[in-house]
């Protein structure tokens, strides 16, 4: 009996002590926690500063993907209707988030740093179809003013698909 009271007191002591420490829980979704710099959340397709899409539709992300979550279809583009530098662009780009395991291999495989796993982790779906993100959902908004894609550009100004890239610093 005495033993039982002792055990109970010991438990209550823990409760009493914890009441004075700073809580780890936050008031999600009103409050959101800062994610780490290298966090791997939902993908985004990036653009260059001039508004052109970085993605050239090479499908290497799909080849690298261990979960077969990415589907890319490329098409040919012209200077009249330019999406990205070079002759090829991604006409279809889909990621199935029911399959994606957020490993980041697609990011590693990308020759133009077009696909980046960002900090959005708020992914919930009610249907299988809604788990498939299409290119317009993944593509970043145009930051450069009045430079949407596709657009007409001066002939011959964007004929290199793969830019020269520095080694990643982070």
């Amino acid at each position: 009996m005495a033993n039982g009271v002792y055990e109970m007191m010991r438990g209550l002591w823990q409760t009493f002590r914890s009441a004075w420490t700073k809580p780890v829980t936050i008031q999600y979704p009103e409050v959101k926690r800062q994610v780490s710099k290298r966090y791997r959340g939902r993908h985004a397709l990036k653009r260059y500063a001039n508004g052109l899409e970085k993605c050239i539709g090479c499908s290497l992300c799909a080849a690298a993907c261990p979960a077969d979550a990415i589907f890319v279809e490329a098409s040919e583009q012209t200077d009249e209707n330019r999406y990205s530098p070079g002759e090829r662009y991604a006409s279809t780009y889909e990621i199935n988030y029911l399959r994606c395991i957020f490993c980041g291999l697609c990011e590693d495989a990308c020759p133009t740093e077009a696909i980046v796993l960002e900090d959005n982790y708020e992914l919930s779906f009610e249907t299988r179809e809604s788990a498939i993100y299409t290119k317009d959902m993944l593509l970043d908004a145009v930051s450069a003013p009045n430079q949407p894609t596709p657009r007409k550009v001066k002939p011959g100004s964007f004929n290199r698909s793969v830019p020269e890239m520095k080694d990643p610093v982070d």
Binding site: C58, F71, S161, V162, E164
Partner: protein, 826 residues
């Protein structure tokens, strides 16, 4: 054997025929000596220096002429101070080749670094990326990083259309010259070449329209980088995403083996579609080549005009129906009209389809007609050309006679093989009324006026008084191959030519040798199979059809081809059509069954040399369609209550094999057997570039002939040598004769938009004098009045065409199935 040489490569001994190059000898051992410019189907040039190896030869004492021995008794080897190119050096006795040493690796590294100085390294968007020899060899032997600044590289144009079909990326080109050599040496269309020099060296086309060759697609296969790409596949998919399915080309009698690469696509509504056609190595058929019609003419299966539901005629209108209703209606009508039944099928159908239609025709005591203007399919089982190696090894000692055929347009791959045979030493005799592209390779050319084809062929018989030079060539022949086509002749003319060719072969006393025989250049892929299953062409097709009570038409569009057939079909009481499209014939039908194209199903074709080959399903079948053999079998089941439940093409083929003596013991399994083929190509990507597929899906089976089996057989009597056509000297009209044009507007071909850009316009080819007489010159538009209808055609002139004749293309809108008199006006 004296002609065999033993040498050592990387410590392994190999024995190869004398004259073999080191690179090929190494390949026999499974050792890859990397190459770029060398291709086993072409003469070596040693331009790229990638294949440098160390070569040692036994040292010979010059005084005694005896080999110098080491102390241990082995021959002393002498290595040159420099490495040698393995692709140009033939093997010699006792040679020792070191294909993998530090010195060799350093050389490869240097060559690669040199090639990459101006290569753009845009592998991520390059169509060759993933199956690229340059990429693979750089991974194997190259440096990890470049010492070259990007700005210092030579920047060339990346988007150069060489024509409608082929695009060139000049920056990716490594100047190996494979494409230039292929076009010059094998295709005889030297329309592309090197331009400028040094760092500015580029490939350019010199023809108008650009890259004007019917073999242009092959250059994209043999290009070791992604410099040449097809308009069809450009940026379409990455090679590793594609699935493969073995198939056959269904455009001509050669029966080229090919592999279709497919992919499920969002832009094609989520369907599996064919992305490209690639040759599949079969040395007995097409080696590793395809003509552009075969490579780009596969779009018929994905056409949106395909029929998806059976159509039946109700109150004069064709309306959609169900399969059960349509089959019941067909059976009811056929039972009623069971007497006087005619089936009309073409070589577009497979053996299985044709066998089923033949069975139904027999059950109804009808007549099985082949829709073809060529005769002689009954002769090929007796004296056909049945060399198991096809035409690809024909050489010295063989005489090839090409009679009444514009082979370049009728069967392009055979044309290429005949040309290669002449290079290897075979003698060629061309018998044609006008000049063709084979003439310049011929040892003798025999000309005749249209209508005298048989006489011209018979003049070659060595004993004939008129035989002359060509008769001497044939008298000296060890083997004789006679190809005959349909250049300027109809069915009657073809029968004469076939009989004359048979007579020539008989008179040569060479029958029974496997390398001798008759080879008809059929117009469709399976015309030979149609003959073998019991179909024969009829002289007056319109009459036969109009007198029939019930007609079944499959794989043919007679009403679209000729107004006379359309009129005849209108007279027929009841017409069933099995078609993929709503053709003009289908529009006249009482019942139209929508059938699957060959790309959606199993089946087999028998090609011109009587090689039975199998094709496999490539894409998903169009919902609502059934294969031809199944449709016919289901009709038959309802008509004659046959209790055979045919489920698959394989089962139909088994029954067929049991009933046709020549096809005995054949099954789909035997058609799929393969043996190692030489030269070795594409076993691993590193060597010749991975885009010629190794054949793992079957080489087919060559059927034998009665002559080769030494069976008893009888040939038809030699034909009369009289002129088949009326004398023209004083006629107002011209004699119009039909000729073949490869890129035509046939039911299946015209669904390929890309080929449409290269389709010929209807032309009227005549002698300049004849044209002048009619007030026409080359390039003018002539009006051709044929059976009361006027057709337009562009005038072309050629001095070799007999005067008072006009040559009109088949399947380009002008209905012409045999020589007829026409009026030609301005």
């Amino acid at each position: 054997m004296a002609n065999e040489i033993t040498l050592t490569i990387d410590g392994k001994q190999v024995t190869v025929p004398a004259g073999t190059l080191i690179v090929d000898a190494a390949r026999e051992l499974g050792i890859d000596i990397p190459v770029f410019c060398y291709h086993p189907k072409m003469e070596p040039v040693g331009m790229c220096r990638m294949c440098l190896v160390e070569v040692g030869r036994p040292m010979v004492d010059r005084a005694t002429n005896q080999p110098v021995m080491e102390a241990d008794g082995t021959p002393k080897l002498q290595f040159g101070p420099k490495m040698e190119t393995a692709c140009t050096t033939p093997v010699s006795a006792g040679m020792v080749v070191i294909g993998m040493s530090d010195k060799v690796k350093a050389a490869r590294n240097d060559v690669l670094e040199f090639l990459l100085t101006s290569h753009p390294l845009d592998c991520p968007i390059c169509d060759k990326g993933g199956e690229c020899p340059l990429q693979n060899l750089t991974m194997g032997f190259g440096k990890g990083s470049s010492r070259f600044e990007f700005e210092d590289k030579q920047h060339n144009q990346k988007h150069v259309p060489l024509g409608e079909l082929i695009y060139l990326d000049r920056e990716r080109c490594i100047q190996c010259g494979r494409c230039v050599r292929f076009q010059k040496d094998l295709a005889d269309d030297p329309v592309i070449g090197f331009y400028q020099r040094g760092r500015n060296l580029v490939i350019d086309t010199s023809s108008e329209p650009g890259f004007d060759s019917i073999f242009s697609g092959n250059t994209t296969d043999i290009c070791p980088v992604g410099a040449l790409t097809t308009a069809d596949f450009r940026f379409g998919a990455r090679p590793w995403e594609l699935k493969s399915a073995a198939s056959l080309c269904n455009h001509c009698a050669v029966g080229c083996n090919l592999t279709y690469n497919t992919r499920r696509e969002a832009k094609s509504d989520g369907n599996v579609v064919i992305k490209r056609a690639m040759p599949r190595q079969n040395e007995a058929v097409n080696e590793i080549w395809l003509c552009d019609k075969g490579r780009f003419g596969y779009h018929f299966a994905e056409s949106h005009q395909r029929l998806e539901k059976p159509l039946i005629r109700k109150d004069g209108e064709l309306v959609e129906s169900t399969w059960d209703e349509a089959l019941d209606m067909a059976a009811k009508e056929l039972r009623a009209y069971g007497f006087r039944f005619v089936s009309l099928a073409s070589g577009r159908l497979s053996n299985e389809d044709l066998y089923e239609i033949k069975q139904l025709t027999e059950n109804l005591h009808g007549q099985a007609c082949l829709y073809s203007p060529m005769a002689g399919g009954d002769l090929t089982p007796l004296i056909g050309y049945a060399d198991p190696q096809g035409l690809s090894r024909v050489g010295k000692g063989t005489v090839i006679v090409v009679a009444a055929s514009n082979l370049h347009q009728e069967a392009p791959i055979w044309w290429m093989q005949v040309r290669a045979a002449v290079k290897r030493g075979a003698k060629l005799i061309v018998v044609n009324a006008r000049s063709t592209r084979l003439d310049k390779f011929a040892s003798a050319v025999v000309r005749y006026r249209f209508g005298r084809e048989a006489e011209a062929v018979l003049s070659l018989v060595p004993a004939a008084e008129t035989s002359g030079e060509s008769g001497k060539i044939i008298a000296a022949a060890e083997n004789l191959v006679v190809l005959y086509g349909s250049d300027g002749i109809g069915l009657e003319g073809s029968r004469q030519v076939a009989a004359a060719s048979a007579e020539l072969l008989r008179a040569s006393n060479l029958l029974g040798k496997p390398g001798s025989g008759l080879l008809p250049v059929w117009q469709r892929a399976n015309d030979q199979g149609a003959w073998d299953t019991g179909f024969t062409p009829v002289d007056d097709l319109a009459k036969v059809v109009s007198e029939a009570d019930g007609v079944l038409i499959a794989g043919a569009d007679p009403a679209g081809d000729h107004p006379a057939y359309a009129a005849a079909l209108k007279k027929a009481k009841f017409i069933i059509v099995q078609e993929q499209f709503l053709t003009k014939t289908a529009q006249l039908a009482d019942i139209v069954f929508p059938v699957q194209s060959m790309l959606e199903r199993d089946g087999s074709y028998t090609n011109g040399t009587r090689r039975v080959q199998r094709f496999m399903p490539v894409v998903e079948k169009l919902p609502g369609t059934r294969p031809d053999y199944l449709v016919t079998a289901q009709v038959r089941q309802k008509v004659v209550h046959s209790n055979l439940e045919f489920i698959s093409a394989a089962q139909v083929f088994m029954v067929l094999a049991a009933h046709l003596p020549d096809y005995q013991n054949l099954t789909y399994a035997t058609l799929m057997e393969t043996v190692p083929q030489h030269p070795i190509l594409g076993r691993s990507d590193v060597y010749y570039g991975g885009t010629s597929f190794e054949n793992r899906q079957g080489l087919g089976v060559q059927l034998g002939t009665a002559a080769n089996r030494r069976d008893k057989y009888s040939l038809p009597a030699a034909p009369s040598t009289q002129n088949q056509l009326p004398d023209l000297e004083h006629a107002e009209e011209l004699m119009a004769v039909p000729v073949a044009e490869l890129l035509d507007t046939g039911t299946i071909t015209q669904k390929s938009v890309l080929l449409g850009k290269r389709t010929s316009t209807p032309f009227a080819l005549m002698h300049p004098k004849t044209a002048q007489q009619k007030g026409l010159a080359a390039g003018d538009k002539a009006k051709i009045s044929l059976a009361g209808v006027t057709y337009q055609a562009v005038v072309r002139v050629d001095e070799s065409v007999p005067t008072l004749h006009v040559l009109l293309p088949r399947s380009l809108g002008i209905p012409l199935d045999k020589p007829v008199l026409v009026k030609v006006i301005q």
